[in-house]
Amino acid sequence: MARLLEFTLNGRDRADAVADNILLLDYLREKAGLTGTKTGCDGGECGACTVLIDDRPVLSCLTLAATVQGRRIDTIESLGTGGQLSAVQRGFHEKLGSQCGYCTPGFIMASAGLLRKNPNPSEDEIKEALGSNICRCTGYVKIIEAVQYAAALNAQGVAP
């Protein structure tokens, strides 16, 4: 069955007929054409598919699109303004928290969710917030550094 789904995607209201059994991840990538959100494991283990629902990081591969009625979804494509990278994006780029980059959108969204809630996280809070994300390339030292740098940029007024 399909239903009419109304929600906010990256700041824009959207209405779409959506099948009951389609995953939010597949909806975003295939229906909305937003391929920045990645399919890593397809089963809740890697975090590559992380998006924000009402500012909270969620695994879109474990979320049915039909459940986001009336909610606000933010994907990696929503970050940054006027061609400028957001604080978290700059952190991952400038502090080398990204190599192949496949895990990066998920890490960035999980980090953005953290900084929206807690602009000045401790190292332990960063580790906990990124506990659902796996990176096979960088190791996690640079990623933690990237988030710390993003928090510092954020304090100077760059949006996370």
Binding site: K38, I76, H93, L96
Partner: protein, 149 residues
């Protein structure tokens, strides 16, 4: 030949040339590319940890409308590994499966749902071989080797 220069980048941050694409989600990976009329691919993976392949029966899967092709280990006689540990690997299992999840057959179909259904119709018959789940038991005297290297 030029004399090698002393490394000046050690300890400095050299951001990647394609970093901005990667951190903004604009970078296109293979899975992000969509061509009109493109097919969906799915891989049938071994549910067994270790076994001798007796048969990979894809006949029922091939009958499914919308399935265009299925390849198995029988179609893959070349090894492809680049890493030294993987030089003897075939893209799809031949003769034996050596771990749970090893690719056994690959399906091309008109869409993902059809490809998934095709996987359900593939029948793998194996003669199970001993499997080990700890390094210790794999190294124990008398343990059989999983690799054919």
């Amino acid at each position: 030949m030029n004399k090698p220069l002393p490394a000046r980048n050690i300890g400095t941050y050299v951001p990647m040339i394609d970093g901005p694409e990667k951190v903004s989600g604009r970078a296109k990976y293979t899975a992000d590319i969509v061509h009109p009329g493109q097919l969906a691919g799915r891989i049938y993976r071994s549910p067994y940890s270790h076994g001798e392949i007796v048969a990979v029966d894809v006949s029922e899967a091939l009958k499914l409308p919308g399935v265009l092709a299925i390849v198995t280990g029988a179609d893959c006689d070349k090894t492809f590994g680049v890493l030294p540990v993987a030089r003897s690997e075939h893209p799809l299992a031949r003769d034996r499966v050596r771990y749970r999840g090893e690719p056994v057959a690959a399906v091309a179909a008109v869409d993902d749902a059809t490809a998934r259904e095709a996987l359900r119709r593939i029948k793998l018959t194996v003669r199970e071989l001993p499997a080990y789940y700890t390094a210790k038991s794999a190294l124990a005297p008398g343990a059989s080797a999983a690799s054919m290297v």
